[in-house]
């Protein structure tokens, strides 16, 4: 849903970032307004996942230039947990297994951290169980997964459902979903996409990071961005994704070759 008057939730300007002194992002510009669904597409190594990790505050990534404003405030000055509490959510491409930590307790601690930041009452064990059972329906997840350790022994599809369950509980304002479709069969993809569609609304924004058109058959983006060599090469509507599907990424390489890359400034 594109509304030019909708408030800007996330504003990325000239973002440069590196990991282990290796520059990956070379000036990303992107604006997300409330109600919008954006898709970032691109080849492996184009910087898509780095962008998502930088936004979430992964300690291995260093921002060397540029800025990110989250609802007008400097996002990069915040710890990862502060970003999450304020409503930024990263759905992991490879959700982490944490043996010995109960999924239910993890979900409750996380939900309460977010609720507290919003000024809502924290939920006790019983109230939380009611909430989580209701939200399980968003991803049609078996309650048995609540009693297991976080993601431990979950199949790829179960892990992704667990990610969307977390999103349903945390009610983010900006959800970044990194390759949420990878490793999913058609049924799991439909369920996960259904969950994302259900949670997308006029007050929040979604950033889908994906390789393939097939996720975008299930979730219709308002904007599609093509990323290459650490920046956004082209932006268009959903038809751009179809064009990519049809023409592949080779034209991206040609376009890149015509580009004179600007020197990267390392702070």
């Amino acid at each position: 849903m594109i509304r030019s008057e909708a408030p800007v939730l996330l504003e990325i300007r000239g973002l440069h970032a590196s990991v282990e002194d290796q520059p990956i992002l070379h000036g990303v510009d992107l604006t997300l307004r409330a109600g919008e669904i954006h898709a970032v597409m691109g080849r492996n190594g184009s910087g898509k996942s780095t962008l998502s990790k930088v936004l979430a505050g992964h300690p291995a990534y260093t921002v060397t230039a540029g800025s990110v404003l989250y609802r007008g405030d400097d996002l990069l000055a915040l710890e990862p947990e502060q970003r999450a509490r304020l409503g930024l959510f990263l759905g992991f491409q490879y959700p982490i297994e944490i043996p010995g930590v109960s999924n239910l307790e993890f979900l409750r601690v996380a939900t309460n951290a977010r609720r507290k930041a919003r000024g809502d009452e924290e939920l006790d064990t019983f109230a939380f169980e009611d909430l989580v059972r209701e939200r399980l329906q968003v991803v049609q997840m078996d309650p048995a997964f609540l009693d297991r350790s976080v993601n431990e022994g979950f199949s790829g599809g179960e892990k992704k459902r667990n990610e969307i369950l977390q999103m349903a509980l945390l009610e983010p304002l900006v959800a970044i979903l990194d390759e949420t479709d990878s490793g999913l069969d058609i049924d799991a993809l439909r369920i996960v996409a259904g969950g994302v569609n259900h949670l997308a609304g006029p007050d929040n924004a979604t950033l889908l990071i994906t390789h393939y058109q097939r996720l975008l058959d299930a979730i219709t983006p308002d904007f599609v961005h093509v990323m290459a060599a650490g920046r956004i090469l082209r932006t268009g509507g959903k038809e751009l994704a179809l064009e990519l599907e049809e023409r592949g990424y080779d034209w991206v390489d040609e376009e890149l070759a015509r580009w004179q890359p600007t020197p990267v400034e390392v702070a």
Binding site: L90, I96, I98, G100, V109, A110
Partner: protein, 435 residues
């Protein structure tokens, strides 16, 4: 350095090192006509201990079994029996879990009121003790180990129990050396009849410069089940030397969950023999070590017959300048075909100054067996921390969750009656969250 008192010439010549000599000198002479005794058993045991200490000096790091474990902490322990009035007061303990029978281990058989023992549990008679005492130490090959000899030399009465059926009341045995200095010898003998079962919690506490010396022998008859929990929490000057010797008949199940923390020096030696194989042994160990302390587990499981199973997990949390040692021996001779054994050692290093030495020691002669082992030493995983943080959980709380998760695999195997002791409720130190 301690020297033996000069006015005890007999003792001075009795042991191969000064500390042991001073200890022997302080003890009643087991050869004396008026030595305290239970039908001759006690004196005989103590004489064997004296003879042993005469021949064997305190273990040094030149010996393979003690290569990483320095017994230096003993030098601060008074070489004499811990005075009874120095024991920690039971009133300072948490209440026992409802329905649990709690006994003070230091009191030995005096702790028993035969009238109030639950069905299936009975004190052993002198003849039975005489027959069974020391058998399992011999079977498991640790009769001549220095800590066992020390225990024998200073030994008091033995708490000896026979389990004749399924005991529904959990048994809890507690020792508390309080803040005094000296040696606290504890000895337990358990015989489980075929098909019998028992849930046993063993708790050791010490605050002062004391040595808690523990020798447990458990003999499991065919089909018997022993669920054995150990929670040992000591102070920075306290020493714990414990041997847990277990002999299993076929179809029996022995589960040990052993959690220790805080001791200046703690050494646990679970030693299990499956006498004719075909039994199940489950060992779960967790040791937390910080300060400049040493935590050591030397385990040995021996399959003397075919089709035995072992599931072993040993976990370590080492912080500050703590040192952890794990040596896990598994012996599978030719007779032990179709043995199925797994051993996993996982250590968490929370500081650069902590040290972990971990060594699986698999000796496999039989050819048709499954023996898997693995050892990892790691820090708190950055990716796990970040995942929790990315869900709004603060770094220090995330570290605590991960630490607890790490320990949980062992803690959940403790008998339910252990919960009142709140084993290992450690705060995550600042180093745990540093990055």
């Amino acid at each position: 350095m301690l020297t033996a008192p000069l006015d005890t010439p007999r003792a001075a010549g009795l042991a191969a090192d000064a500390w042991s000599a001073a200890l022997l000198a302080s003890l009643p002479d087991p050869w004396a006509a008026d030595a305290p005794d239970v039908a001759g058993i006690l004196s005989a045991v103590r004489r064997r201990g004296w003879d042993g200490l005469r021949a064997q000096p305190l273990p040094s790091r030149r010996q393979e079994a003690w290569r990483f474990t320095d017994l230096g902490a003993l030098q601060a322990v008074s070489p004499s029996l811990l005075p009874p009035d120095a024991l920690g007061a039971a009133s300072a303990w948490p209440s026992a879990a409802p329905g649990t029978l709690r006994l003070r281990l230091e009191e030995g058989p005096d702790a028993l009121d035969p009238q109030s023992l639950p069905a299936g549990l009975q004190p052993m008679g002198v003849g039975e003790i005489e027959q069974a005492l020391g058998q399992t130490l011999a079977t498991t090959g640790c009769r001549e180990h220095w800590p066992v000899l020390l225990n024998k030399a200073s030994s008091g009465p033995v708490l000896a129990l026979r389990v004749t059926g399924a005991v529904s009341t959990p048994l809890e045995l507690v020792s508390d050396a309080g803040s005094g200095s000296g040696v606290l010898p504890l000895r337990l003998l358990l015989v489980l009849d075929p098909g019998a079962s028992l849930e046993l919690m063993q708790v050791h506490r010490a605050a002062g410069a004391s040595l808690t010396s523990v020798v447990v022998e458990a003999r499991l008859g065919a089909g018997a089940t022993l669920h054995h929990g150990v929670v040992a929490e000591g102070g920075p000057d306290a020493v714990l030397l414990a041997h847990l010797a277990v002999a299993q008949d076929p179809e029996s199940t022995y589960t040990l969950a052993c959690v220790s923390s805080g001791w200046g020096l703690g050494r646990l030696e679970p030693r299990v023999v499956q006498i004719a194989g075909a039994a199940l042994t489950r060992l779960r160990g967790l040791q937390h070590v910080g300060g400049r302390r040493i935590a050591d587990t030397h385990s040995q499981v021996m399959f003397a017959g075919p089709e035995g199973r072992l599931e072993q997990v040993h976990k370590v949390v080492a912080e500050e300048a703590g040192r952890s040692v794990f040596n896990g021996a598994v012996r599978v001779p030719r007779a032990a075909q179709r043995t199925d054994a797994t051993q996993l050692s996982r250590s968490l290093l929370l500081s650069d100054r902590a040290r972990v030495d971990t060594k699986p020691e698999l000796e496999i002669v039989a050819d048709d067996v499954r023996c898997a082992h693995g050892a990892t030493v790691s820090r708190l995983q950055q990716d796990e921390l970040f995942y929790l943080q990315s869900r709004g959980i603060a770094a220090d709380q995330a570290a605590r969750l991960l630490l607890r998760g790490f320990c949980e695999e062992v803690l959940r195997e403790l008998p339910p009656s252990a919960a009142v002791w709140h084993p290992l409720q450690m705060p995550a130190g600042p180093e745990a969250t540093a990055r």
